[in-house]
């Protein structure tokens, strides 16, 4: 296990903790631009979080401690997962052999707790949302893992940091396939169009949002913050694969990383502006597509 330089560590933590809500602002600004609106300020997500943290929460009498453990676990797990992901060319604060397994299962644990909190309310809606979330994530997970497998084979390493550092020698086709697959996983995991609609108020169509309908105040703030961090972490993962251009100068390298993440947010915003969301029944097909992309990456490597 190697430790990165102190400045890199500090920048990593700063970005991980403070930057995620900015991505939501950039996405919403992009969508507003396409809709011909001015849109909310770029920092609106921060204002919303501060507003929610100052509010009281309403707790249903049928819920137990699980209901509050969900949001807490949701934030902690994605933050911990964020410590394992290298940001650009810079090593992650925590890196060891097999850390990508921990990464995947931290996210799975966060999801397990969110789903448990949803089921804890006993509401028909939340049960429906939980069923959808679990179904779709079980289809998204293979795409993630097959991508890890391909990278492990490519770089002969079992740590995210070493994988990203070793990519430079990789094959372009493999990287494109993995980046494509993981981008679909990003859309699915973060309930973006075309899989889910983060803005809808229609409870029967929701996947992720319907599970958190009963949360309010600071607990809901934690959920929103956790979702933003998750988006940021996935964006970092995709950028790591898609932009493996080595830059020696640390400042330039960090700037490039941040610019790439923001560019990715704009791409997400453009996608959300240009297409409708899929019918719920066809979402699995898209996720199977993501799995196939990753699988082809593995096939390409095994063959060579």
């Amino acid at each position: 296990m190697t430790m990165p330089p102190l400045t890199d560590l500090l920048v990593h933590l700063l970005l991980l903790f403070a930057a995620p809500p900015l991505l939501l602002g950039v996405i919403n600004k992009t969508k507003a631009f396409f809709a011909g609106r001015i849109g909310p300020p770029v920092l609106q997500a921060y204002y919303d979080l501060f507003k929610l943290l100052r509010k009281d929460a309403v707790l249903s009498q049928t819920t137990t401690w699980v209901f509050l453990a969900g949001p807490a676990a949701g934030v902690v797990t994605v933050l911990a997962a964020g410590l394992l992901v290298p940001f650009g060319q810079h090593a992650a604060p925590l890196a060891f052999s097999g850390d990508m397994l921990l990464f995947a299962y931290l996210l799975a644990m966060g999801r397990f707790m969110t789903v448990s909190a949803a089921l804890d309310t006993g509401s028909a809606f939340e049960g429906m949302g939980a069923a959808r979330e679990v179904t779709f994530s079980s289809l998204a997970e293979p795409a993630l893992f097959l991508g890890f497998a391909a990278l492990a084979r490519l770089t002969h390493s079992m740590s995210l940091t070493d994988m990203v550092a070793g990519i430079g020698a990789g094959q372009l086709a493999v990287l494109v396939l993995i980046a494509g697959a993981w981008f679909l996983v990003l859309l699915a995991e973060n309930c973006r169009i075309p899989i889910d609609d983060p803005n809808t108020h229609l409870e029967l169509t929701m996947i992720h949002e319907v599970m958190v309908l009963d949360h309010s105040g600071p607990a809901f703030g934690l959920i929103l913050y956790g979702a933003a961090v998750k988006l940021f972490v996935f964006a970092a993962l995709v950028v790591d694969i898609a932009m493996p251009v080595p830059v020696a100068e640390p400042l330039a390298s960090w700037t490039l990383f941040v610019a790439c993440v923001l560019a990715l947010s704009i791409i997400i915003g453009v996608i959300e502006s240009c297409m409708a969301r899929l019918r719920l029944l066809t979402v699995p097909r898209l996720l199977v597509c993501a799995c196939l992309l990753s699988a082809f990456a593995v096939v390409l490597l095994v063959r060579s």
Binding site: A35, R37, T205, A276, L281
Partner: protein
């Protein structure tokens, strides 16, 4: 049936008739007459109970529309012993009307397949002999249930996640598939029909205009047309045209808003945003006409209250030209997006057969290929002098309902351009004489949601003995329930929006 069915009385849309000239019959005759009317392809516009006092007892009044010949047919049947054999098994479009009669007057339609209250509203004035159906508490009722392994029930509402009207929806689901949907409304019952008794009161016009807030002109027009028919007033031509302009502006605003909301429901943002704004633009045009975005206070029995001067006409023409250009772009964006069309097509289909059996009206019926449009089939006012062709689509799905709206937007725009260019001169209104006593009048108006039916019956003093309102939603809610069968529960909001029915227009 060897016996010959008694003849119904033929009338026209918006013309009054003395009550004693309406065909009267006993229940057996009524049953035969209804059977014959349905066999001829007539639609039920409304069916309601009436109690005019001790000597006549309780009576049923039925109004049928013959769309092919532009005639309406009415009859009155006496009810004996608070019971009559239900006509619903033979004529499903009566199912909700019979439930309403049961609730309002305690008259039992024997053999009704699903007899329960409609609005939990309590007895109607004049239902002296009434036994209140059990459990008048709203929403607490038996729901049709599907039992079995893995079948589950999802209850939505009456409080929803969005700011919309209250209604309760009970889904019987198998995973994501819907077996059956039952819709329970009545949360907004305000007693509009009761309030109109003994009228017309000063406030009645206002109440009609707010009966369904998005259909102010439609309901206001039907009410004014009734008063004009009963008092024999001739509305001046300029007022007729201004009414037509206001009604089409209302249709434009709502259709534009609906297309935007449909795009929003599938997460397609550009059309949602542009159409949302254009809806506001059309509402503002109504405001230019009368000072109110929903057209309230424009109509008055005998004409219209506000004039449209030359400058306003010019202003409206300019705004319409801009709006036409913009809405064409916004809606074509939707038609050119495969992912949006993929959501619309084959979703929530109602067959033509179901549509006819349920007596559906408005864009939802025209989307099934059924040509019902009061503006064409029973024209009154300006529509007697100009034709707007009925917009038809054939698949009965969300896509067809959206497409019918788009066709109607284009045709309404054309109509408005023509009418504004040739606005006749002359007075705006005439005074209405006192209403004719002991008379009946039926007014049909094609609101943006479909056929609005108002029936007024006056007593000896020329006051309302009964004022019956049938909003198009009353015919169509069951259509939405059928559209959901075998669909995904996640497609419900999309289907619901494609019908966009009124809760308060149903609840009255």
């Amino acid at each position: 049936m060897a016996e010959k069915a008694p003849k119904l009385t033929r009338i026209w849309n918006g013309s009054a008739l003395p009550l004693d000239r309406v065909a009267r019959m006993n229940m057996d005759g009524f049953q035969m007459a209804v059977g014959e009317a349905i066999a001829r392809g007539w639609r039920v516009s409304t069916l309601f109970a009436l109690n005019r006092g001790e000597d006549t007892g309780l009576e049923l009044v039925a109004v049928f529309a013959d769309d092919a010949r532009a005639t309406l047919h009415v009859s009155i049947a006496a009810v004996e012993n608070n019971w009559f054999p239900s006509l619903t098994p033979a004529c499903p479009q009566l199912h909700m009307f019979e439930r309403e009669i049961y609730e309002q007057f305690g008259v039992v339609p024997g053999g009704h397949p699903w007899l329960k209250p409609v609005r939990y509203a309590g007895p109607f004035p004049g239902s002296a002999t009434r036994e209140i159906p059990d459990s008048p508490e709203i929403g607490r009722a038996e729901y049709f249930q599907v039992r079995g392994e893995e079948v589950h029930e999802v209850a939505v509402g009456p409080v929803h996640a969005g700011v919309i009207e209250p209604g309760h929806f009970r889904f019987q689901c198998h995973g994501e598939n819907v077996f059956h949907l039952e819709i329970m409304l009545g949360y907004q019952h305000r007693g509009v029909e009761e309030a109109a008794l003994g009228g017309p009161h000063k406030i009645t016009q206002r109440q009609m205009e707010t009966l369904a807030g998005d259909t102010s002109i439609g309901h206001g027009w039907a009410y004014c047309q009734n008063l004009e028919a009963l008092s024999g007033a001739q509305v001046p031509p300029r007022a007729l045209v201004l009414r037509g302009i206001a009604l089409e502006l209302e249709r434009l605003a709502n259709h534009a808003g609906d297309l935007g909301a449909l795009a929003g429901d599938v997460g397609y943002l550009p059309t949602m945003s542009y159409c949302g704004r254009l809806r506001g633009d059309f509402l503002n045009m109504s405001a230019a006409l009368c000072g109110n975005r929903f057209g309230r206070n424009l109509l008055v029995p005998g004409g219209v209250r506000f004039d449209c001067d030359v400058a306003t006409v010019k202003d409206l023409e300019d705004r319409l030209a801009t709006a036409e250009r913009e809405i064409t772009q916004a809606v074509n964006l939707l038609w050119n997006t495969p992912s949006a069309l993929g959501r619309f097509e084959h979703t929530g289909a109602v067959t033509r057969r179901q549509c006819v059996d349920l007596g559906m009206v408005g864009p939802a019926a025209r989307a099934c290929g059924v040509e019902v449009d009061v503006r064409c089939t029973h024209p009154t006012g300006i529509y007697q002098f100009t034709t707007i062709p009925a917009a038809i689509a054939h698949y009965g799905d969300v896509n067809s309902r959206a497409f019918v709206r788009w066709l109607e937007i284009q045709r309404s725009l054309l109509f408005l351009r023509e009418r504004l260019r040739t606005l006749p001169e002359g007075p705006l209104r005439v005074d209405c004489a006192p209403l004719a006593a002991n008379s009946l009048v039926v007014s049909l108006v094609e609101g943006w949601r479909g056929e609005i039916c108002h029936v007024a019956i006056t007593n000896v003093q020329g006051r309302f003995a009964r004022y019956k309102i049938t909003d198009p939603s009353f015919h169509n809610w069951m259509g939405l329930a059928l559209a959901l069968r075998g669909q995904q529960i996640s497609d419900f909001p999309l289907c619901n929006k494609s019908f966009n029915l009124s809760y308060c227009g149903f609840d009255l």
